[in-house]
């Protein structure tokens, strides 16, 4: 086709396309230079650190690098019987190296993640290995502790051979790869993450629902009131935005505690007895109340901006055509606000699903979310790879929700203002 169509030339014989590109090039370079500093800043401070953090979640080079000879020797091992003398010898020399570099502690921690019981036998091996004689390492190592003669432990070492692993992701779902390589769930009483994921989704869902129910009338009022009142109301909506998140959360702690104002009020109006004040904090209720209040503006603003564009004459038209106010609202007004509802719900849900400070302060044990667990592994256990694995799972979840939303409603229908 292109060979048949004649190329359009400018007056001096250069193809039009080339000429156009040439004349646009300068502007393109200028435009790029304008955004270049920000782009660079983003790459250095945002994309690169996040990328490197996320690779940690599958990175399992540590053990691989610590036991290079062992893994080379293990290549021939079928994993059924105890490994041969060759493997034991390689392991001894690897281990000797580690002891010299004082890194055997790290190895014991890492192997202990894979199988409990490595810590003590590695400690013992370090002590005994000083007096090892040359040759027949298999006998000598097995003599240190009976676990060294157990094939299970050698299989555990073998499982750490690949430089990359998905086991952190399995752990995030309370699953692991057992000795025979099958993916199985951990025992019922040791499952903690699944509960947290479900609770995170549940709290995010209900917070979104509560925000929607409360924000819709407010946004409608904002969009329809005369300017002087709506400005005041808008300030009331935005005021929490201008207050520190910590201050707001702390205020909820004061209000919701058992001797707090809300409980005092309930007792005063006789709703509850003085001796049976309900616990509204350090549980789910606390998370619901505080998060709903804090995330409310994120629902109000997109709704407001959409409602503002809906002409009041549409509702009037609906009524004048014979629709009751309810029918006119449901058939005319409500469908037109769906872009705002979509934007608000998506925004609040995504913010809620990764919420951290508020549930940490008012959530207690039953109101914490997956983000608190991520923070726990970042700060306390220092298992960063697990933390970043869960972070990536959360991100994937959010993207999945976004994708589903796009399929159902269409992202083009989102209106943020």
């Amino acid at each position: 086709m292109s060979s048949e169509t004649q190329k359009i030339l400018t007056t001096d014989g250069i193809p039009l396309e080339v000429s156009l590109k040439r004349s646009e090039r300068k502007n393109k370079i200028k435009a790029f230079l304008l955004v270049a500093p920000l782009l660079l800043f983003l790459i250095i401070t945002y994309i690169f650190p996040i990328g490197s953090m996320l690779t940690r979640s599958i990175d399992d080079k540590m053990v691989t690098e610590m036991l290079p000879k062992t893994y080379k020797a293990m290549e021939k091992w079928d994993g059924k019987e105890l490994p041969s003398e060759e493997v034991f010898e390689a392991f001894y020399f690897d281990f000797k190296n580690l002891v010299e570099e004082k890194r055997e502690g790290k190895l014991s921690t890492q192997l202990n993640y894979t199988k409990n019981g490595f810590k003590s036998i590695i400690k013992k091996l370090r002590r005994k290995s000083k007096s090892f004689e040359e040759g027949n390492y298999k006998e000598q190592i097995m003599a240190v502790h009976k676990r060294w003669a157990n094939v299970e432990y050698w299989r555990a070492i073998q499982r750490r051979a690949p430089a990359y692993t998905g086991q952190k992701y399995l752990k995030g779902l309370d699953m692991y790869k057992n000795e025979s390589g099958e993916i199985v769930s951990v025992d019922e009483d040791r499952r903690i993450h699944r509960v947290l994921w479900l609770r995170t989704l549940e709290i995010a869902f209900f917070v979104t629902l509560f925000c929607f129910l409360m924000a819709y009338p407010i946004a409608h009022l904002l969009a329809t009131l005369p300017m002087k009142y709506s400005n005041l109301l808008m300030i009331c909506v935005l005021l929490p935005f201008w207050t520190s998140l910590l201050v707001r959360t702390a205020s909820w702690m004061i209000l919701l505690q058992q001797q707090g104002m809300v409980n005092d009020f309930f007792v005063w109006i006789g709703l509850v007895g003085d001796d049976s004040r309900p616990e509204m904090m350090f549980n789910k209720t606390g998370s619901y109340v505080a998060m709903t209040q804090i995330l409310l503006p994120f629902m109000v603003l997109p709704l407001y901006s959409v409602m503002k564009t809906i002409s009041p004459s549409l509702m009037r038209a609906g009524k004048s055509l014979g629709g009751t106010p309810l029918v006119a609202f449901w058939k005319v007004y409500f469908p037109l606000t769906i872009p705002g509802i979509g934007a608000g719900c998506l925004l609040v849900f995504i913010l809620a699903i990764g919420y951290y400070i508020t549930p940490a302060l008012v959530g207690g044990a039953s109101g914490t979310l997956i983000s608190n667990q991520i923070a726990f592994h970042m700060k306390s256990t220092l298992d960063w790879s697990f933390a970043s694995a869960m972070g990536l799972m959360l991100l994937t979840g959010v993207l999945a929700i976004y994708w589903v939303y796009n399929k159902i409603v269409g992202v083009d229908n989102i209106k943020l203002g």
Partner: protein, 359 residues
């Protein structure tokens, strides 16, 4: 025919408790009539329409529709069709769904509704557009859909609130005729609000001229133009030459009005006796150049400006101290000698010079 199909009975309306936007309105509309409420913005005409539709309540007085007081009936039970200023088509519904809306809420069976929708669409010549969204239609087409939607459920009364305001001039004119023809063919009562006088003159059976919350004059288009009852109407409708003066004599259906140093004869409309201040209103086309001797007002003036308009020429003159005196001269070879700064003679009949209130 019911002479008082719509009746505004001593209706007052105030929004803030301080200013009356509609004052003591008394207005009867006959069944099948096309009545236009015409007036400058802020004159209360839209407020009247909104009260009739039910979106505003009268502060005082009562509105009757076919003998029923309707102040306490909510808009959706009044059964009045309405065409809004910006059409107010439901943007998320197709043309078909827009038209089906009033039929669905009335629980009309689908096949009957489809027939009505077809009929309404063919009335505005939009067959085949049923599945389009309003956003895919041009302004004129949207306007037709809005008209069709207001008529599809066979209301007795249709209100139109400046429906042609957003259209360009040519389309507006053709839509005027179209709406007029629809009105004539189905005989529905129409109350139409506009600030465009040519629109009002073209379409209406009767026109109510609003100013300052009051109906200044309610009459047929020709009467409104030929016989305005006060200065406001005379100035608002069409072009107008005015002379301010004082009545010096009144007798035999004519009055003498003293202007500057001369006197002119006029038709006393709202002057009672000698000494009354008055404003004389004369339509430009009623003053003629080269007047015949039968005319009882003959004066001369200086040509200040000549503007060529194709079929006619507008001549601005200084007559009796009024330098905004406009003359419409048909373009004929006899009239080619009108030149700037030339003194020419003009004349008019005293009957056409209406002595109105001085305002």
């Amino acid at each position: 025919m019911n002479k008082e199909f719509v009746k505004f009975d001593k209706v007052d309306k105030s929004y803030d408790g301080k200013i009356l936007v509609v004052k003591d309105l008394q207005l009867d509309i006959e069944e099948g009539e096309f009545v236009t409420m015409l007036g400058p913005s802020g004159s209360g005409k839209t407020t009247c329409l909104m009260m009739l539709a039910g979106f505003e309540t009268p502060t005082h007085g009562e509105i009757y529709l076919d003998g029923r007081a309707i102040s306490s009936i909510p808009p959706h039970k009044r059964g009045i069709g309405m065409v809004f200023q910006n059409y107010a088509l439901f943007p998320h519904m197709t043309v078909y769904e827009n038209l089906a809306f009033p039929l669905r809420v009335r629980k009309i069976p689908k096949d009957e509704a489809d027939k009505k929708i077809d009929k309404a669409l063919s009335m505005v010549s939009l067959q085949g557009f049923a599945e389009r969204m309003p956003g895919q239609l041009s302004g004129g087409q949207q306007q037709r859909v809005a008209v069709a939607r207001s008529l599809v459920f066979d209301p007795q009364l249709v209100l139109m609130d400046e429906p042609l305001g957003a259209l360009d001039k040519n389309l507006r004119e053709s839509m005027q005729y179209e709406i007029k023809h629809i009105h004539e063919s189905i005989g529905v009562t129409v109350v139409y609000v506009t600030h465009d006088q040519s629109e009002a003159l073209t379409m209406s059976n009767r026109i109510a001229v609003f100013n300052d919350g009051k109906v200044q004059q309610l009459s047929s288009p020709d009467e409104l133009y030929e016989k305005p009852v006060n200065s406001f109407v005379a100035e608002f409708i069409g072009e107008n030459n005015t002379f301010a003066g004082e009545v010096s004599d009144i007798s035999g259906g004519k009055c003498k009005v003293k202007i500057a140093n001369t006197e002119i004869l006029a038709n006393p409309i709202s002057v009672k006796g000698k000494g009354d201040k008055t404003k004389i209103s004369l339509r430009p086309e009623r003053a003629l150049i080269n007047p015949s001797d039968k005319m009882d007002n003959i004066h001369s003036g200086k040509v200040e400006e000549v503007i060529y308009h194709g079929d006619h020429t507008r001549v601005r003159m200084n007559v009796l101290g009024n330098n905004q005196f406009i003359l419409k001269v048909p373009n004929s070879s006899a009239n080619m000698d009108i030149k700037l700064d030339k003194d020419i003679k003009i004349g008019w009949n005293s009957e056409d010079a209406r002595a109105l209130d001085p305002k």
